[in-house]
């Protein structure tokens, strides 16, 4: 099915000089606003039942096909063990495997560029595009490029850049970031796309997804041919052979890496796997967990530019290896496994929070549970811990993760870390009072009595402290007597 371009990376760190490429992305936003806006947008989206129903419907087919494909595995759980071990083994030996990958990649004729942060990565890509004397740049889906706000930087320097993945193209025309890092425009209705294409491409209205896809297909074909530079992401970096692996469905990444003179790939360094053979496990799992497919349509391994004797292919191949705070996550052994993420998006698809608040509410490059885990590392826990609170801790994300990242437990870790570094005064006082009350049975009984009697009054008065709670809920009927009293009364009966 979809535009799988699960690529690369993480979240941009705050670089105030970055021009915001999208009005709703909040790297550049004043941090304190992040939580406020999250609460506001979440409330708004939760009330939007049309939006919720639309997202649920869109995911309905995914659940079915995912389960069909999972059942083709003779043992999905053992496959998860193997996949998580392959990633664990690679991430924990990056000091050895990353140099090995780079040596082999260079032996294949590729050039490696190291970027400590988003700013450095943008400069590298801009210099490469400049050196190529590029008139046009075509891109296939690449989340690290969203992370470093590459499009805005290219456009600011006067380079036209076109997103070739259908979903990303639609989002580019809409001037919005991806809604979901695997299904970028899953929130957009076909009528809106028809209008959008009508406005930008001058095409006639249609309500057929097929016709809309063909409009984009026709529009894009010439652009692949005219582009001088093709930019892609990377899903895996194979240390053993120096190849990069790109997963997609549409063929746009294949075209992007075939026709332009220069191919630039951007990837977080944590995408390294040791053996080519690891892909025999990881590729089918990525497709099954991410899109309910046995394998996505095109899984391609690139080893440098065109070789002598080959018909076509780029003259140069560059790889930008991005840190951008990944080393900070690596330095936390407890949450290091969040670097195992293969960006399949399965945790978003099953998350009750994601399905209710939607992708934009997060305000992050990576939405959903995995985004809530890693964003605080990259943009600061104090300002982004609210994402860890936006979880029912149901564990659906951890169950869905093909590489067994303990996602919901990491949300708890973030909460714990936040409580340590910047304790919430009200919570602290609240807990103190509770301890005081709970240790004195007579105070507890008195408090209960008081509460039972004032409950109808609270209901009527709606004091400010309870107003948020009461906005969508009702208080229960007060029981006539306390639990302890009832227990005492009924015990003899229970004994029979």
């Amino acid at each position: 099915m979809a535009a799988i371009g699960y690529n690369c990376g993480m979240i941009a760190n705050a670089t105030p000089t970055t021009p915001a490429s999208h009005p709703t992305v909040s790297d550049v936003e004043l941090p304190r606003l992040a939580k406020k806006r999250f609460l506001h947008d979440a409330a708004e989206h939760v009330r939007d039942t049309d939006h919720r129903a639309f997202i649920r419907k869109a995911l309905g087919g995914y659940y079915v096909s995912r389960d069909v494909q999972k059942s083709r595995f003779r043992d999905w759980e053992q496959a998860r063990d193997a996949a998580s071990l392959a990633k664990w083994s690679a991430v924990n030996r990056l000091d050895e495997l990353l140099p090995r990958f780079v040596t082999n990649f260079e032996a294949n004729g590729g050039q490696v560029h190291w970027a400590r942060d988003a700013d450095e990565a943008r400069t590298i890509v801009l210099d490469l595009v400049k050196a190529a004397r590029a008139k046009a740049v075509i891109k296939s889906k690449c989340m690290t490029s969203e992370e470093i706000h590459l499009n805005a930087a290219l456009e600011a320097d006067g380079y036209g850049v076109v997103e070739s993945d259908l979903g990303e193209f639609i989002q580019q025309l809409r001037g919005e970031p991806p809604y979901h890092f695997v299904f970028p425009c899953m929130h957009v209705r076909r009528e809106e796309i028809s209008d959008l294409f009508g406005r930008h491409l001058g095409t006639a209205p249609t309500d057929s997804p097929e016709e809309l896809t063909m409009i984009a297909r026709r529009h894009m074909r010439g652009l692949y041919i005219d582009a001088d530079v093709g930019i892609t992401g990377a899903n895996f970096l194979v240390a053993e052979t120096g190849q990069i692996s790109i997963t997609e469905n549409e063929g746009n990444a294949r075209l992007t890496a075939a026709l332009p003179r220069v191919h630039i790939a951007i990837s977080g360094f944590e995408k390294v796997v040791e053996h080519l053979d690891d892909l025999a496990v990881l590729l089918p799992m990525l497709a099954t967990a991410g899109a309910g497919q046995p394998l996505t349509c095109y899984n391609t391994l690139y080893a440098g530019p065109r070789q002598p004797g080959e018909a076509d292919g780029p003259e140069e191949m560059h790889l930008v290896l991005l840190d951008n705070a990944r080393t900070a996550i690596l330095a936390d052994p407890e949450q290091r496994d969040s670097l195992h993420c293969i960006r399949c998006g399965a945790c978003l698809n099953v998350c009750p929070i994601f399905k209710n608040v939607g992708g934009f509410t997060y305000g992050t490059t990576y939405q959903g549970p995995i985004g809530s885990v890693i964003t605080p590392h990259l943009r600061g826990l104090a300002d982004w811990n609210h994402l860890s609170g936006a979880s029912s801790l149901c564990g659906a994300c951890s169950d869905a993760c093909p590489v067994r990242i303990d996602i919901h437990r990491h949300l708890l870790h973030n909460r714990r870390n936040a409580a340590r570094t910047s304790p919430n005064l009200i919570e602290k006082i609240g807990h103190k009072i509770f301890v005081m009350v709970a240790r004195r049975p007579w105070v507890f009984a008195l408090g209960g009595k008081l509460f039972r009697q004032t409950l109808p009054l609270l209901k009527a008065l709606r004091p400010p402290l309870l107003r948020d709670w009461l906005a969508s809920r009702d208080l229960p009927q007060a029981p006539r007597e306390s639990f302890r009293r009832q227990w005492e009364r009924r015990r003899p009966e229970a004994r029979g």
Binding site: A58, F73, P99, L166, R217, N249, E250, P294, Y298
Partner: protein
């Protein structure tokens, strides 16, 4: 393209990584138990060292991190999707999977039959121009092309000419029963664009090219191209597709709308 304040970016990042990895991480959630129950997954010694290291959780264990790899010769991976044991099973699986992917499979008893089939589909679809590349499996089919052709080779490749073609005919490196994938390479399948730019992709292959699993295909590539891997290896799994509009499946997003496999006995 490296920074120069306080060492190159490469040195800085590698130093950060080294520093970060000084404290070992525990094994993935649930893995320690899994290891005990299925030691076949790993060499026994590695498994023991690993669970020991994670249980101890001490910084000194960092040096004891084992090399954990899964090597197909040693492990059959009986938990992945089935690839079939016998050639018959593999053929059956391949065809079943390709069907589900909405690819077309045509059996031909010999190259004459294959050529006739190509003639028929070219006529039916009214192809004006077909691209091909010189290859022992492709050459015998040329007689079956009732229209203009464009030959793709290393000399003066013309992307505009290729774009004007209705179909591209290529050979392949292998066929994967497990997933219904067709493995093409830049070395033996006419470069990178021939199998992706034309609207229809026709693949000519023989039954002997069928392998059971992705791992088998990858291994075959390493053995076959021992000196140097082709600059592109691509597993093609069905015609190009997208679900980006309301998650509804549409074939032919940017790559071929149709994928036709001619399987010669």
């Amino acid at each position: 393209m490296t920074g120069n304040s306080g060492g190159s970016a490469r040195e800085v990042i590698l130093a950060r990584i080294k520093e970060a990895l000084r404290v070992p991480a525990p094994l993935p959630h649930g893995i320690a138990a899994a290891l005990r129950s299925q030691m076949g997954l790993l060499p026994a010694t590695a498994a023991l060292t690993t669970s020991g290291a994670s249980a101890a959780g001490s910084a000194s264990a960092a040096t004891a991190l084992p090399t954990l790899t899964i090597v197909p010769e040693e492990v059959a991976r009986p938990w992945l999707p089935d690839g079939g044991e016998t050639p018959e099973e593999q053929l059956h699986l391949l065809i079943e999977n390709l069907g589900k992917l909405r690819a077309v499979v045509h059996h031909a008893v010999d190259f004459t039959a294959a050529s006739e089939y190509l003639f028929t589909i070219a006529r039916e679809r009214d192809w004006k121009r077909v691209a091909w590349h010189p290859h022992p499996l492709v050459d015998p089919l040329l007689a079956g092309i009732p229209c203009a052709t464009y030959r793709v080779d290393a000399k003066d490749f013309d992307k505009h000419a290729l774009e004007s073609c209705d179909a591209g005919i290529t050979s392949c490196e292998a066929l994967v029963a497990q997933t219904g994938s067709i493995l093409v390479s830049s070395a033996t399948s006419g470069g990178r664009a021939l199998s992706i730019l034309p609207h229809v992709h026709v693949v000519v292959a023989t039954r002997s090219q069928i392998v059971a699993t992705l791992a088998d295909a990858l291994h075959a590539m390493k053995a076959l191209h021992a000196g140097r891997l082709p600059s592109m290896l691509s597993f093609i799994t069905g015609p190009s597709r997208t679900g980006d509009i309301e998650r509804i499946l549409v074939l032919g997003a940017h790559g071929p709308k149709e994928l036709i496999l001619i399987l010669v006995d």
